[in-house]
């Protein structure tokens, strides 16, 4: 409350004064999110493909990812911390786990949604199973995958604010500093950019998703 009198102007001043520091926190935040998402894509897409190709394995993989997803974020962080200790790799690994479900599930759904006729045409013109996957099925499921990535990104940006609790970097640091010092300016200086990042990611990835959908509309008879 002690800072409220300063209002928006005060906050802007604070932001300006600490721009360099805040930018470096934002950058750290983004690096964690990118690493987590990158790992999740690297692992999630192949797992999604496995699910689509193997109906027996699909429920196991999806259920596991689902359980990870419903764990409260603090509990997950704590569990990972027990395994990996404090630091950057712990937070990245947690973000990776958190992003896994949307990516696996959307890859899986996207592949399942590919029209049976299109699959058959691919086989019929003489594509091998890999060619069919890379030239037809994956490109066609890209809008779905993008939707998954969008969801994962928004979640990850949020979860990453918890990073300081386990020795990580990012905008969360400013938020916790603010909480400890009872300094609202600091809290806003961390929370507002984090929220903006999430909104921005949502908009940008949403745009990308729309773009992918164009020209990929299902051929109608």
């Amino acid at each position: 409350m002690n800072n409220d009198s300063q209002g928006v102007m005060g906050w802007l001043n604070y932001m300006q004064d600490h721009a360099g520091y805040l930018l470096s926190l934002t950058w750290g935040h983004l690096v964690m999110v990118f690493c987590g998402l990158g790992l999740a894509l690297l692992v999630g897409i192949p797992l999604g493909v496995v699910c689509a190709k193997n109906e027996k394995l699909a429920p196991w993989i999806l259920t596991t990812a689902n359980i990870i997803q419903v764990l409260p974020s603090l509990a997950l962080l704590a569990l990972v911390m027990i395994m990996l200790g404090l630091g950057f790799k712990t937070i990245v690994f947690s973000l990776f786990l958190y992003s896994l479900l949307p990516i696996i599930r959307n890859t899986y759904v996207g592949l399942k949604e590919v029209d049976a006729g299109v699959n058959e045409a691919g086989k019929g013109v003489g594509m091998s199973a890999w060619q069919l996957l890379f030239k037809v099925q994956l490109p066609l499921s890209l809008p779905f995958l993008m939707a998954g990535l969008r969801l994962a990104a928004v979640i990850a940006i949020g979860v990453a604010t918890l990073a300081p609790l386990i020795g990580g970097e990012g905008l969360g640091r400013e938020i916790y500093a603010g909480l400890n010092l009872r300094n609202n300016l600091k809290i806003y200086a961390g929370a507002i950019p984090a929220a903006l990042l999430a909104i921005l990611a949502d908009i940008v990835l949403g745009k990308l998703q729309d773009k992918l959908k164009q020209g990929r509309r299902q051929a109608k008879v």
């Binding site: 006729g117 013109v125 990929r216 051929a219």
Partner: protein, 386 residues
């Protein structure tokens, strides 16, 4: 030549979908598989490019057992037009048509050239269509693309599964004619599935009639029409065609020959609408009928274009009265006489109360006569544009 020897197909659920099929498909011919839905036409076709494996028996192409060939390589050598078009929605038309050449690693220039050539073959301007996506084409155009995609790598064998089924009668007729024209040049071995007997007779060098996983009769269209093997074949051919086969001397009445849904418009239509309708139906005149379906007059494209500048005019303002009509039940010969006497290109058929029921055109007459007196090659009569 493609040979089926004692081929059986039983699915996992135990259903015997093909029961000992023996069939020789001649090279350079169109062989039409026809039969009711679910009789096993698609199954038979997919056995040829190994999309389905037989449960028993052998299939040979030029004497080679296909079970010993590499399925992917085999499929690249066989053109395939699938039942529901199956264009790749994320690829442009050029990419779709060139997919097999690219799989075969043709160089780019050769593929591009081939794509342009094929597009012009089916009357699509490659400047316009190359870079479009399938969803930006009409159903008829998509089916054309489906057909030329199968032709792209110049395969000797082409499988076509109901390629024209989703089309309106006019585009369908057009594509059939295009196929006949192409085949005269290319002489491919074509296996063509349909359940439309008219299409089978028009296109087939050989017709294979199937029922419940068996082949009921195989033969030239003429043979099948003249000597149907049993009642099933007879019923499939239909009474009308059989009657025509047996009594060619009895002259038909106009009702049998007329087009039943010619292009009509109501009197209140504007001129631009009229032009659009003519374009769509590919006709050069429209018959004008009121809401009780009474014939009011006719307009030709020339009259419409003549007055096109006047936006407030409707077709009622430019139509000419129809001077000559015939009533239902009139014999065709009487109708023909009227047509030749007055130099008419078509003649409306009406009921007593002047309710409009159909139209006789020169084209319909010719194809009807040709159908009745069908001789060696039933395909020939159908080049007449209606």
């Amino acid at each position: 030549m493609i040979q089926f020897e004692d081929v059986k197909k039983t699915y996992e659920d135990g259903r015997e979908v093909l029961k000992s099929v023996n069939l020789d498909i001649q090279a350079g011919e169109i062989t039409v598989l026809i039969g009711p839905s679910g009789c096993g036409k698609t199954t038979t076709m997919k056995l040829i490019n190994r999309l389905i494996a037989p449960s028993a028996g052998q299939i040979r192409i030029d004497g080679q057992d296909i079970a010993k060939s590499d399925p992917v390589g085999l499929r690249r050598k066989i053109g395939y037009v699938i039942q529901n078009i199956g264009l790749f929605p994320h690829m442009t038309i050029a990419k779709n048509v060139g997919v097999v050449p690219r799989l075969l690693k043709w160089d780019r220039a050769a593929t591009d050239r081939r794509v342009d050539e094929l597009l012009s073959l089916v009357g699509l301007d490659s400047e316009i269509y190359r870079s479009r996506y399938p969803s930006e084409l009409s159903g008829g155009q998509q089916q054309r693309i489906g057909v030329i995609r199968a032709l792209a790598a110049d395969p000797d064998i082409i499988l076509m599964d109901e390629p024209f089924s989703a089309l309106d009668p006019i585009s369908r007729e057009q594509l059939q004619n295009e196929l006949i024209r192409l085949q005269q040049e290319l002489r491919k071995t074509i296996v063509f599935v349909t359940h439309d007997m008219d299409e089978a007779i028009k296109l087939g060098d050989t017709i294979v009639l199937m029922k419940d996983g068996n082949i009921v009769q195989t033969g030239r269209p003429e043979q099948i029409l003249r000597h149907p093997a049993n009642d099933f074949v007879k019923s499939f051919i239909g009474k009308k065609r059989l009657a025509n086969e047996h009594q060619p001397d009895e002259l038909p009445i106009v009702d049998e020959v007329m087009v039943e849904h010619p292009a009509t418009a109501s009197p209140t239509r504007g001129l631009a609408e009229a032009v659009k309708m003519m374009e769509k139906r590919r006709v050069d005149s429209l018959l004008i009928v009121d809401k009780n379906n009474r014939l009011q007059g006719s307009v030709s494209i020339y009259r419409v274009l003549d007055q096109y500048g006047e936006e407030s005019k409707t077709v009622a303002d430019v139509m000419k009265p129809v001077e000559h009509v015939v009533q239902t039940g009139t014999s065709l010969s009487a109708a023909l006489q009227i047509m030749s006497e007055h130099q008419l290109s078509n003649l409306a058929v009406v009921r007593e109360d002047r309710q409009f029921v159909g139209l006789i055109t020169r084209g319909t007459v010719v194809s009807h006569m040709a159908g009745m007196y069908a001789s060696e090659r039933p395909g020939e009569s159908d080049h007449v544009a209606v």
